[in-house]
Symmetry: C2
Subunit: 514 residues, 2 copies
Amino acid sequence: MNGADSLLATLTGNGLDVCFANPGTSEMHFLAAIDRAPGLRAVLTLFEGVATGAADGYWRMADKPATTLLHLGPGFANGMANLHNARRAGSGIVNVVGDHANAHLQYDAPLTSDLMGMARTLSHWVHRSDSSGAIAQDAANAIAHARARKAAIATLVLPGDVAWGPASGGVAAEPLADDVELDEDALESAAQALLGGEPTLLVLADRALREGPLELAGRIAAHTGCVVGAQFFSARIERGAGRVAVSRIPYAVDPAVEFLARFKHLVTIETGEPVAFFSYPDKPSLLKAPGARVHAICPRGGDGRAALERLCERVGARASRAVVQGRGERASVRGALTPQSISEALRVAMPENCVLVDESLTTGRETYALTAAAAPHDTIQNMGGSIGFSPPVSVGAAVACPDRKVICLVGDGSSMYTIQALWTQAREGLDVTTVVFANRRYQILNNEAANMQAGNLGPKALALTSIDRPALDFVSLAKGMGVPGRRVDTAEGFAAALDAAMAAQGPKLIEVVL
Amino acid sequence: MNGADSLLATLTGNGLDVCFANPGTSEMHFLAAIDRAPGLRAVLTLFEGVATGAADGYWRMADKPATTLLHLGPGFANGMANLHNARRAGSGIVNVVGDHANAHLQYDAPLTSDLMGMARTLSHWVHRSDSSGAIAQDAANAIAHARARKAAIATLVLPGDVAWGPASGGVAAEPLADDVELDEDALESAAQALLGGEPTLLVLADRALREGPLELAGRIAAHTGCVVGAQFFSARIERGAGRVAVSRIPYAVDPAVEFLARFKHLVTIETGEPVAFFSYPDKPSLLKAPGARVHAICPRGGDGRAALERLCERVGARASRAVVQGRGERASVRGALTPQSISEALRVAMPENCVLVDESLTTGRETYALTAAAAPHDTIQNMGGSIGFSPPVSVGAAVACPDRKVICLVGDGSSMYTIQALWTQAREGLDVTTVVFANRRYQILNNEAANMQAGNLGPKALALTSIDRPALDFVSLAKGMGVPGRRVDTAEGFAAALDAAMAAQGPKLIEVVL
């Protein structure tokens, strides 16, 4: 048994049975070991950003970490943007990054770089293993951090000689102590505000947005009149008919300020108070109403369900009945493609238990509200703002949930950062329907130029926000990667394409030309 | 005038007139300023790795820096792999990275990350500008470092408030002192070895591989019997008929050791002694013969031409006549596609003054030797080993040299890291012919598994080195991005496709199915 075998035994022995891989020469011993490791599913990607995004999506739906396999500093670098998104979502991931043998580093060979420096910028835990005898324990430590309640991006650097040197078996990962505590004072002050009937918004995030905790929040709302809300972006929300609806704080500063104006209290659970996504001249960074009070009961990484249970008990809402979302009516969708007709087509087509991975920054901005009455489903959003998110995350969600339909919403601009995800979807036969909203521009930039008070954009600047010359042909791109695609330009065409996609298995792409 | 105007005035005032851009919200003032800045050409890319690779290619052919425009930490991260390659090649680049306004950073908004930490891992010079009044001087400093003889990756972080705050005009960049000196002792010992007729290899790199310095090396070789050589990868070589031929040290360790065995002396100019690309069990990291002596006349970033002039003078070769490469014969190429027939078709088709950007790791490994007798041309290679190099670098080379044909050689695996470059080629009408060698596997990994002594790869491992399921269809991928493509599977088909591409203007793609 060599170090690579011992690492793999530790991964699979601790239940980490999926690896999103983009290997290189320095990972050859790891590769060779895979055929000796029963139970590891290795999923090949053509670009590291697909691997890290897939690991993020896998975490969100499986509630356990996947492994990535990356190649030295540049391979890690290519995965960093989606690691940023994963970190912001609180996802746990174990990155295994191959590197030169320790004795070779001093010669500064071409692929040598400041891998540890790169890894530290986005990982909560980083370790360069220094012997083949130690790699199993090192991997167990990485796993412990990645799957803790306060989940970590854990990056384990695997030098060549550590992979090929002698080792013994796997090591069991010891659970880390859960050291995130509720703030008792904030809990009491929040309860007082709620009991006093003050206008209050519960701002929930992460695992507090699952069905069970939401039901508790719904009881508190029914009992006290508060509103159940979330940040504009959430890691995963269990929503739809029969579940407690969650109001979304708007993205743009002015509507967000307007939405928050009426709340004198914000009770935050697994998140902080709402802040502006960007900084703008003469607009605030903090969005709450002047004088509003923030009751930070439970920080990120804390136990939001426990916080809601305590709050429910304290305000006497245990026996209240949460108001849940009704089911929308079956409707036929016709006419022009608008944000409304697109959302309506989605609402009607979305099957029960589907996973909606939503990175439709402008076209889909109204989708959230307008799909509230869809069948029960999960929505996954981009917490980090680095675009090129939803196609890779859909890969991971589909691997985690092979029996659920995954619908990936993405803008044409965003999709092109990680379009290589389509190939992995085809290779693995993943049941992902990718909907590309092709407005042929970075529409969000046109919107934001006004918010930024940057003045009128001239022709050169507008050309930099426009991707219409040439128009991307997503049906050809999909075909090039083995995914069948179709193009629609009416609401009924979109509805029909969605229905067909939901009725069949396997990856498909729908280009929605706006 | 705001900070963005002042930054742009500094860039264009110092002759930096090309910007490879992938902007976001925080760069809106920079965008708006472009229409007020005469002479800046802004080239949009769909992925940051294309922007940074293009800046690398631009430097190599224009001998001056381009600017990139990137969006916060994740945007920089996406550009890092090709910045690594650029850094290894000694290319100068000015990265402008937009960031949140200084006052907004404390709120840890979603796109906040350790941008400075990321930038430091790959930049020689990093600065976060702290006021709109200072940005012009900050940019002048960045430019000075990027265009120094020892060229820098210079990264300038532009916070929102620095872009939108008041400022005055541009600032001229002061040249940096050239502080890299020749090693006089090494020069003398090298001369003694050469004059003594000892078996000696000149190992040249970077600007020592241009026609003029090479001619000096050729005179030294003619006079002393030494061999003119280069590392396996070089930033740019001016080569072909009528120029001094350069022997390439082989990539794999065993052939490299064999090649170097006969040399008792290595004279290194703008590079170090040859080292193995990767570390392997039981193979050496240093490749020179036992007991061979290294005469390090001129380090990276030094004046290789001056070193060769001094050496030429010292050994009395001034009046010698360099042996130059003859012109190969016109030949018709037929039969199966092999590395030989592919190289021969290239040799015949390559027009005078073309730029060959070579990232064909396995299929094209013999291309270098077999195209030595092509018409005079430049070859650009990947110095950093991070794949996904040649399509973006070809963008920059074509922008720098609009009157020259650019031929981009790339493997199917490598191409998919930055395939988005095709769209920018179409958008800008760049005269790039992309040749994709589709062997439908990461062939280099199959080769390297044996070198790594990783044992036989089982079916799961082999699946991770294979990209045949589904086969990528590059003609469809190119069509999707507006580039006309064709597929060939014979040598004559390849030759005909190359001829057609050389006879027309604009981007094309040839998929060579192996």
